[in-house]
Amino acid sequence: MTPATKTPDAEQPGAHLRLVSDRAASATPDIKLTGVSKTYRSHDGDVASLRPLDFHINSSEFFVVVGPSGCGKSTLLKMISGLLPPSGGEIFVEGEPVTKPHGNVGIVFQNALLLPWRNILDNVMLPIDMKRLPREKYLPRAMALLKMTGLDGFEKKLPWQLSGGMQQRASICRALVHDPKIMLMDEPFGALDAMTRERMNVELMRIQRETGKTVLLITHSIPEAVFLADRVLVMTERPGSIAAIYDVPLPRPRSLDAMADPVFTELVQRIRRHFFTDSALD
């Protein structure tokens, strides 16, 4: 990972971390948004959900979006996966404009959303069934993913027989089974207890390193964002827009000890100020 450009910021002393990443887009960024906005129609007229957004996510980058509730983060994710058309602008995934569900992404939601009537293996194979790909070709891959996430031996279990953390791991396997280049994660560990959550974060980083996937992860938790990300995008209140994009210059691989690093704490503090400008934190 390239070190972040450090420029002293006169207005915010001590914030030596670079505000708004100027990391250039590679020639072919995995995800590219140009002027993407979203407006919902309702009875009281149009409600702006997202103001025009421009950003890109490079290949194999861990990109985290952090923002308050209702800032349109989930809308963003649905638009990138092709489920929801943007009201304006264009989205490119792997260079192709997105107009309909393209299947080049794996999605993980806050809830594991495993189908209760399918066993773990069949749940992981769901994308293969939906895309009507040959099952036998992907079965070894599914088994390998389950092994990688420590779920070997649970293939034949039904979802309710697994703990919340294990269910979410299975849903990560499901997002990866059809080998998409990109993973979209919407508060994937929001429903888990704090301890499981930390463990899952470490695990997710390992999985991302091993598979080289591009990850777009959405979260409420600022420490989680900084811990995981190569870059953090901070969103404003509704209608959502980009408040800042930060580079995270922490070396990889990171362990939980990285959370004690002064760079980490400073960056967390810095991002927090975006949301609590009037609070005692200043």
Binding site: K78, G82, N111, L115, P127, D129, K131
Partner: protein
Amino acid sequence: MAELKGRSGVAKALNAAWVRPFLFLIFIVVGWDVAIRLFRIPAYQIPAPADVAMVLWQDWPELLRQAWPTTNATICGFLLSAAFGIPMAMLIAGSKTVESYVYPLLVFSQSVPKIAIAPLFVVWFGFGLIPKVISAFLLGFFPVVVSAVQGFKSVDPDMVDLARAMQGSRFHVFCAVNLPHAMPAIFSGLKVSVTLAVVGAVVGEFVGSNSGLGYVLQRSIGTFDLPTMFAALVVLALLGVLLFWIVDRIERFVIPWHVSQRADIIFAA
């Protein structure tokens, strides 16, 4: 009861699920008999259990013969309500337009007492099987639709999005996600429906028929033959229980994964 306690085999038998309602039934019958003796209720008001049992014992071939047309009409009506109710629920749950047009009318139609319009079916279709089937269908239809609509609508939209994002076609997603998800609700509707279909068939037989348990009921009320009437009621109740049990068995087979069946899975594992 006290002398049974010591023997573990009997105690085990007493704990079997099917024995309990049976014991309770015996309790009710005894209470019934005692009440008649105690309050000197005349036989033309409530017959004694022994008299009913006697009719059941003596006339069972005749009762069984009369149960057949009723069963036939019930099953036909029930199958029709499932065959029309489930697709109707799919349409209502799938389209806001269909829902806004059809659903209120459907609810409205339910407040029409079936017994009031049942004679019409006899006028239209004669004294055969058809008016009974229609009557059973009309009673069984509504619970299936209401439950199935509820089932189809309670699918997590994120789950559907997830399947759609994997490029599943509408039909594919429906079969893989929506339909199995709605199954428990559909089955709870079917269970209500099957018992109501029995009532519907009897209503059909009440208004115009020369066979079936409804006809036996009608005739025995006319002649104040209360033991026969109660015997027919017992057979009807048994029919309802049997049909309910069959649907319940099918449910266990179709949705073994559901919360309500989980104890069984652990047993099997």
